[in-house]
């Protein structure tokens, strides 16, 4: 996709977006509501027209091609199985349109249903299936036509947490097994980071960063990405000589050529750890625990430092020694941090969640 734009009246849904999918990879588009991720998918599927820009698949320009001729398999957020057809007929619908013979169509439909673990339900109707099963059939139906690109438009958002996690892993397994190029749209960062080869974080119709999940998380390209993906502490700091000093801790900068001066440093909770001693009562990173959230192997501890609060992600074994009201000394691990311009009101508030 090159220079793709789409406007709805005065609203810019996509703003000269460039995106290239490598063969066989799964790219997740992640972003807040209205950032243009679903519009991107719909333009690629041909369900909407582009204002400017072009879409090329395997060297062929498909920008003006209708949806029915694009050879894209799509799974929708809403349940989209045809209610009057059985699971088998749904899975074979695309093949029927391609005039594949009944026997071959049946065979391939059953193969795809087998792939998603639903071949035993082939003669059931959609209303007899659970939400997760319906989405699996929709996936089988999309894969049955052997599309060039598989498009997944928040297919898990209508499902409960447990089914969502199972189906997410199943989608990834099938995608790797089939080796199909896939574009996955979601607003759930956990989903995107868990299954994508690359994650594109979108904002206001543009991709802010397109990189592997670990890079998006540990080396966010912009402060928006840093704050959108995962939790971030916004702490006041002072840049000097290519380093930033945050509450007494000197940290390397992620970016080069940051001018000296006051900034807001974006520090991940897991970079905040317990200090080995609690003697420095006057240290700017000593405070009172106000909340502890148990997350399993780790716990998130929120500490009031007086002028701000900071979140630390600690091993649960360390966190169990603490309780609300405990005095605790923290330190910041010297990981490279991203900084953004200072002096915005409330800029130093911690723990802004995506």
């Amino acid at each position: 996709m090159e220079g793709l734009s789409r406007h709805y009246g005065a609203v810019v849904a996509l703003d000269h977006l460039d995106l290239t999918l490598r063969p066989g990879e799964l790219v997740a588009l992640l972003g807040p509501s209205g950032c243009g991720k679903t519009t991107t998918l719909r333009l690629l599927a041909g369900l909407e027209d582009t204002d400017t820009g072009s879409i090329t698949v395997a060297g062929r320009d498909i920008t003006r091609l209708p949806a029915s001729k694009r050879d894209m398999g799509m799974v929708f957020q809403a349940y989209s199985l045809f209610p009057h057809m059985t699971v088998r007929q749904n899975a074979g619908f695309g093949l029927r349109l391609r005039r594949v013979g009944a026997a071959e169509r049946d065979k391939r439909a059953l193969e795809m249903l087998d792939l998603v673990g639903l071949s035993t339900q082939a003669d059931r109707y959609p209303h007899q299936l659970s939400g997760g099963q319906q989405q699996r059939v929709a996936l089988a139906r999309a894969l049955a036509i052997e599309p060039q690109v598989l498009l997944l438009d928040e297919p898990l958002s209508a499902l409960d947490a447990k089914v969502r996690a199972q189906l997410r892993d199943q989608i990834r397994r099938i995608q790797l097994e089939v080796g199909i190029t896939t574009l996955f749209v979601t607003h759930d960062q956990e989903e995107a980071l868990a299954i994508a080869d690359r994650v594109g974080v979108m904002r206001e119709g543009r991709i802010e960063q397109l990189a592997p999940p670990t890079e998006v998380y540990s080396r966010p390209a912009t402060s928006f990405v840093a704050e959108f993906v995962g939790l971030t502490n916004r702490l006041d700091g002072e840049v000097s000589g290519g380093q930033v000093t945050v509450r007494g801790c000197t940290l390397p900068l992620m970016e080069d050529n940051v001018p000296d001066g006051r900034v807001v440093a974006l520090v991940r909770p897991e970079a905040v750890t317990m200090a080995s001693h609690t003697s420095a009562e006057a240290s700017p990173l000593v405070g009172t625990v106000i909340a502890i959230t148990f997350l399993g192997a780790t716990s998130r501890v929120t500490v009031n430092l007086g002028d701000t609060t900071v979140m630390a992600q600690l091993a649960t074994s360390d966190a169990t020694a603490l309780s609300a009201g405990s005095r605790v000394a923290l330190t910041i691990r010297p990981d490279p941090v991203l900084v953004s311009a200072s002096s915005a009101p409330g800029a130093s508030e911690a723990g802004e969640e995506a």
Binding site: L47, K69, F76, S80, P83, H84, T86, G94, L97
Partner: protein
């Protein structure tokens, strides 16, 4: 503690029973009310029908019974009016043509508007419901000159179907709109399009099969309207079943054939209703 519990439990038990008894009495009263209402309204509808059936079976002598009037449906003819059976045929043909034209015109248009030109939906609804607000006599006044202009073409009574399509529009539209609203037509069409379906396939293979119930309802309402229509045919000087029955009654006021034909026409509508609801039940009961 035990004393407190027992004291607390005893009074709790009594009021707990009381609402159950009250609910039971209320339910019985409600059921009685339902039966009474059902019986009163049942009789209100049934008595005229029974009277109609009785008069269609009453012989020349009071208190005697005969099937003559029923036999006459096939053979009755009188001076100045077409044979009864021919108007029965024409009315049935009109019902079929009107229903088919209605479905062919309205169903794809409604689906197309829903999927492609949604901004036209309100206009379409307004236009389709408009005939409800226009009395049949006003329609006749407007349509009269048009039918007069084409009278020299010696058009058959079947040409009434154009007017009947207009008359049936509001009822058919409402039934079809309910069916279309019951499905997520946009998502279904997008899913079908992404699988390679043309717009024709989307409408015929995906949307319409999910609207069968609504289409059957529209069919029933349209047929019932055509079978009972009198005003327009009468004023445009065409003979359909109702005009024929009226003409017979004017010439021979006590002719039993009027009652037998009316009863037959009603029975036909009931049978149609039964067939359609049976078809619906079968569709819903598809095993899976």
């Amino acid at each position: 503690m035990a004393a407190i519990t027992s004291v607390g439990e005893t009074p709790m038990a009594a009021p707990a029973k009381r609402p159950v008894g009250m609910q039971g009495r209320r339910r019985r009263r409600l059921n009685l009310f339902r039966y009474v209402v059902f019986t009163v309204f049942g009789l209100f509808f049934l008595l005229p029908l029974l009277a109609l059936a009785r008069w269609s079976l009453e012989g020349a002598k009071l208190g005697s019974w005969s099937l003559t009037a029923w036999r006459q449906i096939a053979s009755y003819s009188n001076e100045g009016i077409p044979p009864l059976i021919s108007t029965v045929e024409i009315t049935l043909e009109l019902a079929v043509i009107t229903s088919v034209v209605m479905l062919v015109l309205v169903v794809p248009t409604m689906i197309w508007i829903r999927l492609r030109v949604r901004w036209l939906a309100r206009t379409m609804e307004f236009l389709c419901l408009l005939p409800l607000t226009i009395p049949a006599i006003v329609l006749v006044v407007g349509l009269g000159p048009i039918y007069n202009k084409i009278a020299h073409l010696s058009l058959s009574t079947l040409m009434l179907f154009w007017v009947y399509v207009i008359l049936a529009l509001p009822y058919a539209y409402r039934a079809l709109a309910a069916g279309l609203n019951a499905i997520d037509a946009t998502t279904l069409s997008e899913a079908a399009r992404s699988l390679g379906a043309s717009w024709f396939s989307v409408i015929v293979r995906v949307i319409m099969p999910n609207m069968w119930d609504a289409m059957l309802n529209a069919l029933l309402l349209t047929s019932a309207l055509v079978l009972g229509e009198f005003t327009i045919a009468f004023f445009l000087l065409y003979f359909n079943l109702q005009v024929e029955l009226y003409s017979i009654s004017r010439n021979t006021p006590n002719a039993g054939v009027i009652f037998s034909t009316s009863t037959a026409s009603l029975l036909f509508a009931f049978v149609l209703l039964l067939i359609l609801s049976f078809a619906r039940r079968r569709r819903r009961g598809i095993p899976g």
